[in-house]
């Protein structure tokens, strides 16, 4: 009885426990650094000098903003692309254009899921966009590439969502005379969207974390900002610790909202 309760507690709060543990470990590391090097005060002063007096926080604000822009815009673009791909993939393949479109979608998904996002960023920024005659600012290029990338992942999520909607819904829509496209838009996709909302939340978290590589093409995000701060001051420990903390706070916040949303959704389902 008590044992079962303990298990339930673990299962319910494992993410909190994990977070607390990670924080504790980080704190220990911090303490260790103070103890070991004894130069902590000096390092902290150096950090403050670069971060506060030299207005490093301005750059951090830009970094936060860019991370947010890339992740949110990437998610939205990815959602549109992913939904489109998922819908194309469930069209009954009677006509030739449909089959070609479906082949293309499969190819697209394979490409974007089969290569690291850093590689996609580099190829896009240094090869594809220049070839097309586009000179995009780094952040815009990142938005595009992350949009294209998450489109591939979201298409798979969305396809699962569409498959989880009762086939009778599409049938009924077609039976009253709605075309396939309108049936999808008005009936199936909205229901699929509700089913995949929690998964989309997790996809968003993944996206936020993945944006840490945008420095490769010169976009200033949270990571890049602290990297530069470190190399300017020749002191990396504190900037990187602060950076890690910032990511944890952001991700934990989003995760909290995702859980909250999930609970609300399941409650409305139960009432139904």
């Amino acid at each position: 009885m008590n044992e079962a309760k303990k298990k339930g507690f673990l299962r319910r709060h494992w993410i909190d426990i994990l977070t607390v543990t990670v924080l504790a470990v980080l704190l220990c590391l911090l303490a260790y650094a103070i103890y070991e090097r004894f130069q902590f005060a000096k390092k902290w002063d150096l950090f403050l000098e670069y971060f506060v007096e030299n207005r490093g926080y301005n750059r951090l604000l830009t970094g936060l903003q860019n991370t947010a822009i890339i992740a949110v815009a990437g998610l939205l673009i990815g959602f549109v692309i992913g939904t489109l791909i998922a819908v194309i993939k469930v069209i009954p393949p009677y006509r030739k254009p449909t089959r070609y479109a479906q082949k293309f979608c499969t190819f697209y998904v394979a490409i974007f899921r089969g290569t690291p996002i850093v590689v996609q960023l580099l190829v896009g920024y240094y090869i594809l966009f220049p070839i097309m005659g586009l000179t995009l600012p780094p952040v815009t290029a990142c938005v595009v590439m992350f949009g294209l990338n998450s489109g591939a992942y979201i298409s798979e999520i969305m396809r699962g969502g569409i498959n989880s909607v009762d086939a009778g819904q599409l049938e009924a829509a077609r039976a009253v005379g709605l075309p396939f496209s309108a049936s999808m838009r008005k009936i199936v996709v909205p229901q699929a969207f509700k089913n995949i909302l929690p998964t989309m939340g997790n996809e968003f978290i993944a996206l936020v974390k993945e944006t840490a590589v945008v420095g490769y093409v010169g976009a200033v995000d949270i990571t890049k900002c602290f990297q530069d701060l470190g190399s300017n001051s020749y002191e990396y420990m504190i900037p990187y610790l602060v950076m890690a903390l910032i990511y944890i706070v952001i991700v934990a916040t989003i995760a909290f909202f995702v859980k909250w949303m999930e609970r609300r959704l399941s409650r409305s389902d139960r009432r139904a």
């Binding site: 009762d166 009778g168 819904q169 049938e171 009924a172 005379g177 709605l178 008005k186 909205p190 229901q191």
Partner: protein, 283 residues
């Protein structure tokens, strides 16, 4: 737009065949549904009743053969099937109300969508004509546009509310389907089809998924429609109901219409041994 049939034929199938791989589910069926007729389809499970019904509005594409609705072969892939399905109401065994729409939205969705689309098309044509008229000496007249998005919606809402009133569910107009009983769902599914003013209604075992105490209310509504002269094709296991409502009974067996006739003939004096056997097992 090949054959045009004169007279009262609403739906006609010619050599209608459907197979899944090597399994022949419908075997070259020739059948005619006349205006105002109530046709009941009975037969053992797996005999192809649902498939036949679903071929009548091309929810399943026939493997070969033709289905004429109002003289148009709707099995022809060049025909805009959505234009035709508007006039063929369909009611499913599992109701299939749109789960993400309220009751009222369920009923209004298709009429509003289709009329709005027609309005948009007319406006587009008028725009083209207006542009063309700039260069024409003899001006082409514009197509009349009397509707707006608002009037279309208003009309659909009025009609939907009337229909809801008719089945006594007006207080459910803003509820979601998941909060309704099976009988309520099915009656709403029926008026959702009615809201399109269909020429013919297809029912696929409309009461099979219902708790016994709700079968009556749904059958009563269908009977009312029958009395009002609606043309209908009903796949059913309710023999009493079929006998009472139908003008003609089709008995299907093995993908064919094995026997047909008036209820009196078919129920009292079945000729085909399969029919006799089936009736013995269900009556």
């Amino acid at each position: 737009m090949t054959d045009v049939h004169k007279g009262d034929i609403v739906i006609e199938t010619k050599k209608l065949t459907k197979s899944y791989g090597s399994l022949v589910v419908l075997d070259s069926i020739d059948e005619v549904i006349l205006e105002g007729e109530k046709v009941a389809i009975i037969g053992p499970s797996g005999s192809g009743k649902s498939t036949f019904l679903r071929c009548l509005n091309c929810m399943e594409d026939p493997t070969s053969g033709a289905v004429y609705f109002d003289g148009v072969n709707i099995a022809d892939t060049r025909v805009d099937i959505n234009r035709q399905r508007e006039h063929i109401g369909m009611v499913f065994q599992s109701f299939n109300l749109f789960a993400n729409k309220t009751v009222l939205e369920n009923i209004m969705l298709a009429p509003v969508y289709l009329q709005t689309r027609r309005l948009r098309e007319t406006r587009r044509k008028n725009l083209l004509r207006r542009i063309g008229n700039l260069f024409r000496r003899r001006k082409k007249p514009l197509l009349p546009v009397t509707d707006t998005r608002q009037t279309i919606e208003e009309r659909a809402r009025k009609k939907a509310e009337e229909l809801l009133c008719r089945i006594g569910l007006q207080e459910k107009r803003d509820s979601y389907p998941s909060t309704l009983s099976g009988g309520q769902k099915q009656r709403i599914a029926i008026i959702r089809a009615l809201a399109m003013n269909p020429r013919v209604m297809l029912f696929d075992e409309p009461t099979s998924a219902l708790d016994p105490e709700m079968v009556g209310e749904v059958l009563d509504l269908i009977k009312q429609l029958a009395q009002e002269g609606m043309t209908m094709v009903i796949v059913t296991h309710e023999m009493g109901f079929a006998r009472e409502v139908a003008d003609r009974i089709l008995f299907m067996y093995g993908g064919k219409i094995a026997e047909q006739g008036s209820p009196a003939e078919l129920f009292e004096h079945p000729k085909n041994p399969r029919t006799q056997q089936f009736l013995r097992s269900v009556l």
